[in-house]
Amino acid sequence: MAKRTVLAASIGIILAYCAVALLAPVIAPYDPHAITGAPLCPPDPEHLLGTNDLAQDIFSRLIWGTRATLLLGFIGAAVTVVIGTAVGIVSGYYGGMVDEAVMRLIDVAMTIPIFPLLLILTTFFRPGIYITAVLMGLLGSFQGVRVIRSQVLSLAVADFVTGTKALGAGDGYIMARHILPNVLPLAGVKFVISAQHFMLIGIGLGFLGIGDPSVVDWGQMINRASQNGAMILGLWWWLIPPGLAVTLISLALAWLGYACEDEINPRLRLMRV
């Protein structure tokens, strides 16, 4: 019962964020870049969360910022899962030298910490938000490959796969029709967890001031707020809302990930693979 509530709540929160991101132009009262009055206004009916030092409406920026965060998280996670699943299936299914080569390569690649590497890459190349997302996805996919591969290893020697081989099915057919459907639940969980991870990394990059400056994002909002003394001046409406927004989506994704993991684990055991 409690588990179901958590699951429903997390899905609700994620859907709400998606809706806000899609409907940002409709919901936001102002253009996030426009000067809308006096700078550093406290909240009032006109500016729900006040204005920042450039007199931009904080509430509108908060709403537009949802887009950047979700974009980074979901595009990055999609790249990770697609690469992780494809490489993991091929590597685990064929085994032997192919597998050995891929795994040793990944062992080396995984020793490189993602965040510092991303920091360096984004500082030097100043890529747009899409490239950053794909980059994150690529760097994160190494771990995805390992997770999927380990599952495929046991599936590849399962009797139903051997039996289908004996029927005369080709390798491509077996991977697409028998292996892939059986790793999809795991890939789903990986997607949710990666999305959460990448959203936080995105916020981190923004906070360090190396995000795409043409994009409104929460990390940069927090950065700007703290650099302009929001903390000391007690301007909570500038600092707290983006932080809360991040925390909430991150929590929702984590809950969803855990709930899904719980959901698929007994079934995996039941599958005896």
């Binding site: 139903f160 081989k165 004996a166 099915a169």
Partner: protein
């Protein structure tokens, strides 16, 4: 030989596994096995766990590539086939596994599992396949309402019936049954055993029936081969071998129930295989020094 047409001729087949990257260890699971199976005949293969029965069964179908040796199925040397030719040949030889539940994709309904071989080999359009699936399901003693079930919604015996329907869809000439009844309880065992025997006759299948259960072997096989440490040590008519065993191992096997103890992996020592001696007509035994 004797002018009999052999369905399957297995010639000196060897399969070994190697483990370890630095310290390579080679385990020879099947060590020079030869035998023949005639048309419509069931050859039983007995031996304790770890003696290489399963590896032999899979090597014959090239589900594991044997290191050397020849397997001729109804005149075709399958060890010489290319991968794509082998795939086209596969429908003629099939395999049934011990764990029926694990031999079906947990995400596929019975209907899809049984239709799969027909679809892979493009045997007819959708309506024809659907008709054949219903026919097959009925033949193995299931009915329409089972078609939409998934493996975990069926019992072990029912799952084994589904596997049988899936395999029969291709009308194979030769089938390797790897302990298909040993995971089932006794009453269901008998049903499945009878089903395999009846359908085997109906479809004119030759069968290599692997088991460690002498009762099952006695019930289903015309001839029996006894396997020990990767080699066949005795082969002949079922009653002949089981009632008048010549090899010391067979004598032990017949006297006491086989214990399920896996063979320890030993360092590879490959003595020359002893020659086989014909004790009685058709009853061959490996020469023993004892």
């Amino acid at each position: 030989m004797h002018g009999v047409c052999f369905m399957i001729e297995v010639n000196n087949i060897r399969t070994s596994f190697s483990t370890g990257f630095i310290r390579r260890r080679v385990v020879r699971a099947v060590d020079g096995v030869s035998f023949q199976v005639e048309e419509d005949e069931t050859l039983g293969l007995v031996g304790e766990s770890g003696c290489g029965k399963t590896t032999l069964g899979r090597s014959i179908l090239r589900l594991i590539e044997p290191d050397e040796g020849r397997v001729v199925v109804n005149g075709t040397d399958i060890t010489a086939l290319s991968r794509s030719d082998l795939r086209r040949f596969r429908p003629r030889m099939q395999m049934i596994f011990q764990d029926a539940y694990a031999s079906l994709n947990p995400r596929m309904r019975v209907r899809e599992s049984v239709a799969e071989p027909l679809k892979i080999h493009r045997m007819g359009d959708r309506a024809a396949i659907d008709r054949r699936v219903r026919e097959l399901v009925e033949e193995v003693g299931l009915n329409e309402e089972h078609l939409n079930r998934r493996p975990y919604e069926l019992s072990g015996g029912q799952n084994q019936r589904v596997v049988l329907a899936r395999v029969l869809a291709l009308r194979p000439e030769f089938i390797v049954a790897d302990e298909p009844t040993s995971a089932l309880d006794v009453s269901v065992q008998a049903q499945i055993l009878n089903l395999i025997r009846d359908l085997g006759q109906e479809y004119h299948m030759s069968c290599l029936y692997i088991s460690h259960d002498l009762g099952v072997i006695r019930a289903i096989s015309n001839r029996v081969a006894v396997m020990l440490e990767g080699r066949i040590v005795e082969i002949g008519k079922t009653a002949d071998v089981l009632d008048r065993p010549s090899h010391p191992y067979t004598r032990r096997l017949v006297a006491v129930p086989v214990r399920e103890t896996p063979e320890p992996l030993e360092s590879p020592v490959f003595p020359a295989a002893p020659a086989m001696v014909e004790e009685r007509p058709g009853h061959w035994v490996e020469e023993t020094t004892a």
